[in-house]
């Protein structure tokens, strides 16, 4: 039931991309998505697609993982694409039926949107596949740190994130156990009407919540017993550092930006 979950899935590796600083990777991904949205010419898309495929090759991760990342979104993508195809105005009209019409502009937009969505999904999958969740939270904490000057609880948010991530497998195990226990008592999870199925979830949710509360309390006690008293005066065991690879990433993105803007303005 849970093995389809791709969020936070991480594949261990030691490629150039794996070794990048998580901050650089995180910001780089966001920036790359920005570039994807900025591009408006097929040359630019060709270039971006090539870059994504090169990055995937560099990560050493099988392409099938990325396709799996796209699979749950395929319905949404096709829906958006079809909308573009049938409802866009402008350009040469190929076919028309009532308010539906297929135009050259519409087809062009549809293809672009399809490429955009696929590239966005692929590049973000690349981020999660090559970055351990822990590194990601470290990166987020570092990036949020400047905000703490304005009273933003960056340490608390980072702590909550890392504890939440650390408990994902534990709670999944527990949910599975509760589910099996309830099944053994005759609760059916995949039969009956929609309402009945929703009702069947209650015997999982309530115990799961109660146990999460108990866990939280025990954990808070254990943390306090180990001298935890908030973010102040703490030192950090983990440290992030910028390497040569990160500089290469930044330079690469800069070059890419120049080229994309060039295509946008002059072609």
């Amino acid at each position: 039931m849970f093995d389809k979950l791709l969020i936070g899935r991480y594949i261990q590796g030691n490629s150039w991309i794996h070794r990048l600083d998580p901050r650089a990777k995180l910001l780089g991904t966001i920036y790359f998505i920005f570039l994807i949205l900025l591009a408006n010419h097929w040359l630019a898309y060709l270039l971006l697609t090539a870059v994504v495929f090169i990055l995937i090759r560099l990560s050493g991760i099988d392409l099938s993982f990325f396709l799996k990342g796209i699979r749950p979104m395929i319905g949404l993508i096709l829906f958006t694409v079809l909308f573009q195809v049938f409802f866009s105005q402008g350009g040469e009209v190929y076919f028309s039926w009532g308010i539906l019409q297929v135009t050259s502009e519409g087809l062009r937009n549809a293809v672009f949107i399809f490429i955009r969505l696929v590239l966005v999904i692929m590049i973000s999958t690349l981020l999660t596949l090559t970055t351990a969740p822990l590194e990601l939270t470290d990166g987020i904490e570092h990036l949020l740190r400047p905000l703490s000057r304005f009273g933003f609880p960056s340490h608390e948010i980072a702590l909550m994130l890392s504890i939440a991530l650390r408990y994902v497998p534990t709670l999944m195990d527990e949910a599975q156990k509760i589910m099996n226990a309830q099944r053994a008592r005759g609760v059916e999870f995949n039969q009956g009407s929609f309402i009945q199925r929703i009702q069947a979830i209650i015997p999982i949710l309530v115990p799961l919540f109660v146990s999460a509360f108990n866990r939280a309390e025990e954990m808070a006690t254990a943390m306090e017993a180990r001298g935890y008293r908030g973010g102040e005066g703490r030192t950090k065991y983990r440290q992030l550092s910028f390497h040569k690879g990160d500089t290469v990433l930044v330079l690469g993105l800069l070059v890419l930006t120049v080229v994309i803007f060039g295509i946008r303005n002059y072609i």
Binding site: P133, L134, T137, S162, I163, L165, R166, P169, T170, D173, N214, R215, E218, M219, T221, A222, M223, E224, A225, R226, G227, Y228, R229, G233, R234, T235, K236, Y237, R238, Q239
Partner: protein
């Protein structure tokens, strides 16, 4: 023996003002380097007492002294540095995302500088034989391994006292053995004081002294040999006696002249072989 490390005088505690005392008028003194086992039926106040010793709960009367320092709101963080605690559920006390992060957590809280932290993490993991699992996530470890990591996290803080609040209760026999062995080794090396709350009588039999708790009171403080002779009385409190005692009893009901003193398994073995050679 360097003198008292933890002393309680007249400690009482209750959770709600209109309820009966969970602990009433408890006094004891524990020497540096002692191994204390605390036994008693469920609800006898053992865990509450452990939390009071660590400052997690404040007694409503009486005082606790740790290394001569009276425990109060100002000294509590100092006290927690010298009194480490390992809890029952190995999952719920694992704070870090990996083994090494978890071991470092306590030191981060105290503001230990990073280079020293790295060294101490390495060292503490070696002590509990977990250095090979440094990068592992908790989900990949067994219960016994998680408890050994919890122990390493405490060891890295260099405490004088380790309190184990049923730290082996949720482990299988192998995991229990691993954890106890690790604690014994650490106790020898650092002259640690160990206070272990347990239902496992074979574990309690290893202690220097046993504290018997019942209904919020410290009923008896004595070495194991003496405690386990209380047979009937222990069973009356809902407790059990160790295997060797049960065997002794079973033998005496079958007409063997068993000595009236407590024998551990080694002693019993010798007595039996002596008996056998006489037959």
């Amino acid at each position: 023996m360097v003198g008292e490390v933890i002393a309680a005088s007249g400690v009482s505690f209750k959770y709600a003002p209109d309820e009966a005392d969970v602990l009433s008028n408890i006094s004891f003194a524990i020497e540096q380097g002692e191994w204390i086992a605390m036994i008693g039926p469920n609800g006898s106040g053992k865990s509450t007492l452990a939390k009071i010793m660590n400052g997690l709960l404040a007694p409503h009367s009486g005082t606790i002294q740790v290394k001569g320092e009276t425990l109060n709101e100002e000294t509590v963080w100092n006290v927690r540095q010298s009194v480490g605690m390992v809890f029952q559920n190995p999952d719920n006390q694992f704070v870090g995302a990996t083994v090494e992060d978890d071991v470092a957590f306590g030191m981060e809280n105290l503001g230990v500088p990073r280079p020293e932290m790295i060294e101490r993490v390495e060292h503490a993991l070696e002590e509990v034989n977990m250095q090979a699992y440094k990068q592992h996530e908790p989900a990949k470890l067994s219960g016994g391994q998680k408890q050994r990591v919890a122990l390493a996290g405490i060891i890295a803080l260099r405490p004088d006292v380790i309190i184990m609040d049923e730290a082996t209760a949720m482990l299988d026999p192998m995991g229990r053995y691993e954890v106890i062995e690790a604690i014994e080794r650490l106790k020898e090396r650092y002259n640690l004081t160990v206070i272990s709350i347990t239902h496992d009588l074979d574990e309690a039999a290893e202690a220097d002294r046993i504290f018997v708790m019942n209904q919020g009171q410290l009923v008896k403080i004595a070495p194991p040999e003496e405690i386990f002779l209380m047979g009937e009385e222990l069973m009356g409190m809902g407790l059990d006696v160790p295997f060797s005692q049960k065997l002794q009893k079973a033998l005496s009901t079958r007409g063997f002249a068993v000595p009236e003193t407590y024998l551990d398994e080694e002693d019993l073995l010798q007595w039996l072989s002596k008996l056998y050679s006489k037959m």
